[in-house]
């Protein structure tokens, strides 16, 4: 079994882009689920862009949407930090 979870994101323009899911979690107090994923796009400094979206399942289909508020975004970043911290000792 591959150690990476690769999904296909269909953009609003109809383009299909592969993405690797890094973290999938729920903020239970908000009742919302979130995806943290990457398209493996690097900038000129070698930094990789990591995206986060709200994850919704409706009628058997999965959708991702924009993060609604800055408070949500801050909590998502906290979760990312926690997971990354758990993944290494440095």
């Amino acid at each position: 079994m591959p150690e990476k979870k690769i999904i296909t994101v269909v953009t609003p323009e109809g383009e299909e882009i592969e993405a690797e899911v890094l973290i999938f979690f729920e903020l239970t107090d908000l009742g919302k689920k979130y995806l943290v994923y990457t398209h493996h796009e690097k900038d000129k400094n070698g930094m990789e862009t990591v995206c986060a979206s709200t994850y919704v399942e409706e009628d058997g289909k999965a959708y991702i949407e924009e993060i609604a508020t800055e408070e949500e975004w801050d909590r998502i970043k906290d979760v990312m930090r926690g997971v990354i911290k758990n993944g290494g000792d440095e």
Partner: protein
């Protein structure tokens, strides 16, 4: 719908982490349009190693939580076993097996990621090593070149390049090194062909001349007018040719003259004295030699003159053309200068015109200002007149009022007069009816006449 997530209590007590395999394979981005942008995500940037840590973090988290559950299940199985609860023991063992498999899955993924990280680090270390070797090699090559170039500069040599002495510098047969490389999770080793360069240093004096080419070129900071230089060279050559030709001719003439003089002297001597036969023979032979020499010299001079005159003619022609060109250019330049002078004059005239126009404008502005001042004065005067008119009108109105009053008074007086007149008439009629006895006489026609007192 989802398997039971696990809370990340250290980070956010409400955050529940799920296994990424729960996410559907295909997701549709539902975007809200914000201006020109279509937004369905927020993003942040990380170094690649942090991405790996995020991957590891998720799996480690699940593996730890599953370990805790495994411990708990094992404890429960032990209790069930001790108490003979077979069915519970079976159920718990089934759960335990499932949990162990799930944990193993995460542990395998952790191992794979760590293995890939290890390989990547090895690859990086190897690349750094290769880079260091390359740097060292470049440094050595530069050092060697510097050493090779030093004597070459000092001696300005003259060693001809030879194929035999060329150093064996260059790429030899590539050596294949098996290098493990991390690429899209493929952990299979990838063969990388790394060129290995061997350097065989040669003795300094055998260095090829090509090495000199690698020296930085001498920078000529002063620009040289090559046309001028060519002209100068041509002039010098021409002058030398002329001088040489003249000298040769002159020398030949002098030699001929001296030879003639010598011959004449000899003849004179021969004529003036009796000479022996052998001397005559010598004189004849000398005569022949002189004639022969003279013809050779003439021919040589003629050829030389021809040889010199032709290039001279060409040079003269070129010189003439150049002079013509120069004359043309000078004429053109003169024309341009004249044009410039004309333009300058024209500009000067235009400047004068402009100046005059400016003066006119200034005058007009002054006039306009004066007119404006006049208008202001007239406006002020008009204002005063308006005020006068207003006061006159007020005065007229007042007088009209007075007239009206007077008219009323007159009317009243008229009325009074009228009344008085009526009274007077009444009085008159009263007087008319009054007949005093003594003073009343009857006329013949019977009319009565009132006699005034």
């Amino acid at each position: 719908m989802f398997e039971e997530g696990k809370y990340l209590s250290e980070t956010d007590k409400f955050a529940k982490l799920y296994d990424t395999k729960e996410v559907k394979q295909g997701v549709i981005a539902r975007a809200k349009k914000q201006g020109a942008n279509v937004v369905y995500a927020k993003y942040i940037k990380f170094k690649e190693k942090f991405i790996d840590r995020a991957r590891l973090g998720v799996h480690k988290f699940f593996a730890e939580r599953e370990q805790a559950q495994i411990n708990e299940l094992e404890n429960e199985i032990k209790v069930a076993n001790e108490n003979g609860l077979k069915q519970i023991q079976i159920n718990k063992q089934s759960e335990l097996k499932y949990m162990q498999e799930a944990q193993q899955e995460h542990l395998d993924k952790i191992a794979t990621i760590e293995n890939n990280q290890q390989k990547a680090q090895e690859k990086i270390a190897m690349m750094q090593n290769i880079k260091q070797q390359k740097d060292e090699f470049n440094r050595l090559m530069k050092q060697q070149r510097d050493e090779l170039n030093k004597p070459m500069k000092e001696q300005e040599v003259a060693t001809e390049p030879s194929a035999e002495v060329a150093p064996e510098v260059g790429e030899s047969t590539p050596e294949v090194i098996e290098t493990p490389i991390v690429l899209n999770n493929e952990s299979e080793p990838v063969k990388v062909e790394t060129p290995v360069v061997e350097v065989v240093p040669e003795p300094i004096m055998k260095a090829p001349i090509e090495d000199k080419i690698e020296e930085p070129p001498v920078v000529m900071e002063t620009p040289i007018d090559m046309t001028l230089m060519d002209q100068q060279v041509d002039t010098v050559i021409e002058q030398q040719i002329k001088e040489t030709a003249e000298n040769v001719e002159q020398t030949m003439e002098e030699e001929l003259k001296s030879a003639e003089n010598a011959e004449q002297t000899t003849n004179d001597k021969v004529q003036n004295t009796e000479v022996p036969d052998w001397m005559k023979q010598i004189a004849d032979a000398t005569q022949v030699m002189n004639e022969s020499l003279q013809s050779i010299i003439k021919e040589y001079t003629s050829n030389l003159t021809k040889a010199i005159v032709v290039p001279m003619t060409t040079k003269d022609q070129q010189l003439s053309e150049e002079k013509q060109k120069t004359a043309n250019l000078t004429a053109t330049l003169q024309n341009k200068e004249n044009e410039i002078v004309g333009l300058k004059n024209s500009n000067s005239e235009k400047d004068q015109q402009l100046e005059a126009e400016k003066q006119q404008n200034a005058n007009l502005t002054t006039t306009l200002q004066n007119k404006e001042n006049e208008i202001v004065g007239l406006k002020a005067s008009n204002g005063e007149k308006d005020k006068t008119i207003e006061s006159l009108q007020a005065s007229n109105a007042e007088k009209d009022g007075m007239i009206a009053t007077k008219d009323a008074e007159i009317l009243q007086l008229k009325n009074s007069i009228q009344a008085m007149s009526i009274q007077f008439q009444q009085i008159q009629s009263m007087f008319a009816n009054f007949q005093p006895p003594a003073n009343t006489n009857a006329s013949e026609n019977g009319e009565k006449t009132m006699v005034k007192a």
